[in-house]
């Protein structure tokens, strides 16, 4: 048992770099999309609002695996273009998917900043940009922290799908270990789960931290 673990763990560790790089890149991409789409949905311009709404509903309404396969198989066929390497396809799919979910968090948090704050800022003769940057946004960001933490854990879980488009992540090496020795399969996958859990631990900790920050000094 111990020997088997010592055998398997280093093999799985070879996939760590891909899993972590996909996690970081797609998380950053998702945050970016979240703020862009979240703010666009609050825009005064109807066309921008409707268009972003369409993006959010389409990506929230279909599942990540469908979007990933669609980008991987269908986009090259439809447009005759390659989206770059598989790494990029994975990052784009995960980023767009969770960006759509997170944009709702951004939108909701901005909307939940008390109306009086906007009015006070207007009374202090601030421009709408100043109002957003100095008054609304700093208060809204705090409220977003716990949900951003939760969704980052979801993104980590989502990265396991990139093994399906041939990326050599932890799960990919797990699959290889399994096919070489089927009787070890349960142990291999248990170790894969442990690997993911270890990666998730700092995120869980950050989420809890975010929860306590978002609660601090808020009257409710």
């Amino acid at each position: 048992m111990i020997n088997a673990i010592i055998d398997i763990a280093p093999q799985l560790a070879r996939g760590l770099s891909i899993t972590i790089s996909v996690l970081l890149a797609s998380a950053i991409f998702a945050y970016l999309m979240a703020f862009i789409a979240g703010l666009c949905r609050l825009s005064q311009n109807t066309i921008i609002r409707k268009f972003t709404g369409l993006y959010v509903e389409v990506f929230r309404g279909t599942s990540l695996i469908v979007q990933l396969f669609w980008l991987y198989y269908a986009v090259p066929m439809l447009f005759g273009i390659q989206l770059g390497s598989n790494w990029w396809i994975g990052v784009i799919a995960i980023g767009l998917n969770y960006g759509a979910y997170l944009s709702e968090v951004v939108r909701g948090s901005i909307l939940s900043v008390a109306q009086g704050q906007t009015e006070a800022a207007t009374a202090l003769n601030m421009s709408s940009f100043q109002r957003m940057r100095l008054i609304i946004f700093p208060q809204a960001v705090r409220m977003m922290l716990p949900e951003f933490g939760n969704y980052t854990i979801q993104i980590l879980k989502g990265t396991s799908l990139v093994s399906l488009i041939g990326m050599t992540d932890i799960l990919y090496y797990g699959d290889i270990m399994r096919s070489s020795n089927l009787s070890q399969a349960p142990l291999v996958y248990l170790l894969v789960l442990v690997f993911y859990f270890i990666l998730a631990l700092p995120l869980i900790w950050l989420t809890r931290k975010g929860e306590s920050i978002s609660r601090k000094g808020v009257a409710s």
Binding site: E57, V58, R60, G61, T62, S63, L64, I65, V66, Q67, F69, W70, Y73, A74, P76, M77, L78, G80, Q82, I153, L156, K157, G158, T159, S160, L161, L164, L171, G174, D175, R178, L182, S183, A185, P186, Y189, L190, V192, L193, Y196, F197, A200, L203, I204
Partner: protein, 239 residues
Amino acid sequence: MNFTYWSWDTFFDALPFVLQGLGITVGLTITCYLFALIFGFVWTFLRRVPNKLFNWVVTWTMEFIRSTPPLVQLFFIYYAWPMIPGVGFTLNPFASAVLGLGIHFSTYVGEIYRSGIESVDKGQWEASRALNFTTVDKWKKIILPQAIPPTIPMLGNYFIIMFKEVPLASIIGVAGIMLMANTYGAQNWAYLEPLTIVGIIFLALSYPSAVLIKKLEVKMNTRFDKNAVVKSNQKGAVM
């Protein structure tokens, strides 16, 4: 790279083929969901056991299940099942998916139940004790009827989330719409149309359900008027 552009012929050729899997996809969603609803209670009650060590173990087990990928959990259950001593038969893909996704989502459902139970007013617990209710009667007649209905919209959201996770089961061979689309794609080297069909089916089913649940949420909020409870509590605090 040979690329074909959009073809309606392929679209209508693939449509009936992909739709064959719809029954399985919807059936699997419902079965997994029922499993999660029932198993969620197990977590909720395990967490209420008044033992610190046991509580810690249960909490972290839930955290472990929740923060690791369901895809890997599916693989684990699919391959680990026959290895359990005394079992000796392979679990079919459908049953593995029910177990895997069901357990994964039961941890979320358990948390929702917990939040519902915790939101039941303290006076209700005291009243049921004062009226000398047995434990079973207390839960059956006082606590759960108040705890569960307000959580229905949240539980509904998880139904939609689960529906969107079900195509993962295609990887271990459940013949839902996702597997059908991939099969069609591999046979005809035309992935664009079948995968688009899958996307459309998901949108067509999940978007209206999301709208429906939003309506339900509004209805529940007025019915259980949470603000009224908060207001009366505040009043009590002031006095």
